[in-house]
């Protein structure tokens, strides 16, 4: 488990094994870290996962294709749409099901709003990690949740659900966007965008925050490639890989947007990438509602029996760029109405594998800063 770029110095006076989690305020859920400490310095870190394992992949083998999309929205519970989006893409790819163009744009629209909402939760919880629940962190957290609340209200108005929107259907999208909602979306984008400088001044613009994150948890380009981290964590190490650009799905092939990268690879770079991604996503939702094509949002015949959809025999992999990185679904079909085997390629799981490599050498205080900057969602890790 050890290794990585930091030289581990052997010391005489023994080490303290600190069991951090699964119940701990800064492990973002039920992650357990066994930290071997020498004084305050971490010399070894072993992540233990599985406390939130819900057996979703096995459950998939017992439900029909059309029933499954909402199940996956419970995996990465900060960006539910990304999960179902990847799933329906995989099913559509295997089944050769056409998706109307308007539905593709609308999927991207909801995904981008949830990316903003997910990144706001990440920023707030990073504040909690760095500032504590009895300090400035809470204030940043509350500010972020104020803006996120508006996004959830908007999504509720659009889809009927605040959170697990269940927006993506196999073969389309569930709810259409009318002119009033377009106006609301634009107003919301303006309001969240106006709050970003405020967040910046409380986090990245603050010298204490910079000191806490700069040169902390540095992931070199090689280490990032070797371990296979993904998403903003990968892009902060200077690798320009975004599924939306590398293998465009839905409307992303037609949408102009910029992939944010940084080269430093430290916690601050990861912070900056995500902060800039919020702005990019806010620009994207404006672009989407401007160029939204007309037409139907669901082209298939209405399903009388949801258990009737059968996929041809074969294997398929489809991925989306979730707020945490490449989220893919691998489905093996035996020709029946249920998956024979389904595997979720979860970004948080991959990102968490970097932990034993970058925690040693840092202090206990760096552990929470690094974990916060990786943005793991334990529902996504354990599935």
């Amino acid at each position: 488990m050890s290794g990585g770029p930091i030289e581990v110095v052997e010391r005489d006076f023994g080490e303290l094994a600190l069991n951090m989690g699964p119940q701990h305020p800064s492990t973002h859920g039920v992650l357990r870290l066994i930290l071997h400490l020498s004084g305050e310095t971490v010399i070894k870190a072993i992540p233990v996962i599985g406390y939130l394992h819900r057996g979703v992949e096995k459950l998939s083998e017992h439900l029909a294709y059309d029933q499954l999309a909402p199940v996956y929205e419970r995996d990465d519970y900060l960006a539910p749409t990304a999960n179902s989006n990847a799933y329906v893409l995989a099913v559509e790819k295997l089944g050769g099901i056409a998706v109307p163009r308007r539905a593709q744009w609308l999927r991207a629209f909801v995904s981008e709003w949830q990316r903003v909402s997910s990144h706001l939760v990440w920023l707030g919880t990073l504040g909690l990690d760095l500032g504590g629940a009895l300090g400035g962190g809470t204030t940043l957290y509350m500010y972020c949740f104020r803006e996120r609340e508006k996004i959830l209200d908007f999504l509720e108005e659009l889809t009927g659900t605040r959170y697990h929107t269940n927006y993506n259907l196999v073969g389309g999208a569930r709810y259409d966007l009318d002119a009033a909602m377009v106006a609301k979306s634009n107003a919301l984008a303006a309001s969240v965008g106006a709050a970003l400088p405020e967040f910046w001044s409380m986090s990245g613009g603050n010298p204490i925050f910079q000191e806490r994150t700069r040169n902390v948890g540095v992931i070199s380009k090689d280490l990032a490639m070797g371990v296979g981290v993904t998403g903003p964590t990968l892009r902060a190490s200077g690798i320009n890989y975004d599924v939306r650009k590398a293998a465009p799905y839905d409307a992303y092939g037609e949408l102009p947007f910029e992939v944010i990268t940084r080269t430093a690879g430290d916690a601050e770079a990861r912070f900056q990438v995500r902060m800039d991604e919020i702005a990019v996503s806010l620009k994207l939702v404006r672009t989407i509602v401007e160029g939204l094509p007309t037409g139907p949002i669901f082209a298939r015949k209405p399903l009388k029996n949801p258990k009737a959809t059968k996929l041809p025999k074969g294997e398929v992999y489809a991925a989306v760029e979730s707020p945490r990185g490449e989220l893919g679904f691998h489905i093996v079909s035996d020709g029946s109405a249920k998956p024979y085997r389904l595997k979720i390629n979860a970004p948080s799981f991959k990102n968490l594998q970097i932990v034993p490599h970058i925690l040693p050498g840092g202090l206990v205080a760096d552990v929470v800063a690094i974990l916060g900057s990786l943005d793991p969602v334990l529902g996504d890790v354990d599935r």
Binding site: L16, L18, N19, H24, P25, S26, L37, G39, E40, G127, L128, D129, L130, G131, G132, A133, L134, G135, G136, G137, T138, T139, M142, Y143, R146, M202, S203, N206, I208, F209, E211, R212, L363, V364, A365, D366, V367, V368
Partner: protein, 325 residues
Amino acid sequence: MSAFFTGWLGAAVLSGIVIGVAMTCVAYMTWLERKFVARMQNRIGPYEVGYPHGWLQPMADVAKLLVKEDTTPRAADKLLFNLGPILVVVPALVGFAFLPVGRDLAIVDHPYSFLFFTAFASLTLLGVFAAGWSSNNKYALLSALRMVAMAASYEIPLILSLLIPALLTGSFQLTAVVEAQRGLWFIGYPVIGQLAFGIFLLCALAEGNKSPLDILDAESELVAAYNVEYSGIKFALFYAGEYAHTLAICGLAATVFFGGYLGPAFLPGFVWLILKCVVLFLIILWIRWSLMRMRIDQAIRIMWMFLLPASLVNLLLTAYWVVGR
């Protein structure tokens, strides 16, 4: 002081007054903090318990903590574990006895009351260490170790910055320190006054466990830090001790830098003292609820590399000025 207040009975009555007033203040400081922070964060804060603006909330909190189960870990050092909360709360309260609330009006007007005050304010650290060490919990132990490292760093600039008012007065008597500020408060002395107060404020944040220097109470790293194993009344004592300590620090700052009970005559002296304490408390809250926490090595580096030389230079400047006066 009349003869009554010198006997045992008088001492008991006076202690009762000090403890009663201080504890009530502490209870309502928690309420004030919650309301103030709620305003900062677009929230309302306590509202339901007690008609205007949840004014009974502190009482509800105290009642809740009193009836909670009081647990002691089996592997804890019982004597130290039980002594910890007492060692935190008692010295913080003793300090108030030295605080002058009017001209020649302090419960203990000792020639060295300034020194006693700072000494008692620092004694709370013993309780913190006792709690952290005796809990037999790794988080509590780490917190206690951090406390030792931090205390060694901030106590020196803290004491050096507090020497400035004493030096300007030429006395360690708090009532004399206040009287010396008639005309100009010590905060108003160019450079030396502001520098001393700035250093004092930073060290007070560290001593009072307030963000950005709440290193030993870092709950996102060490969960509940040194009081992780405490519950019920003992936890309440830690909580009260922390706020009593903050109040003592505010009272000290108001007394030695902001003229204590001095102020225009339309209000009595003790009201001025309370107003100054409240303003200082709100400033501390403002800092606390705006900034992220520093890492322990960064905090210690600031103490030794910046605050210590600055306070030494400040002391020299003041001494030069006092001698030349």
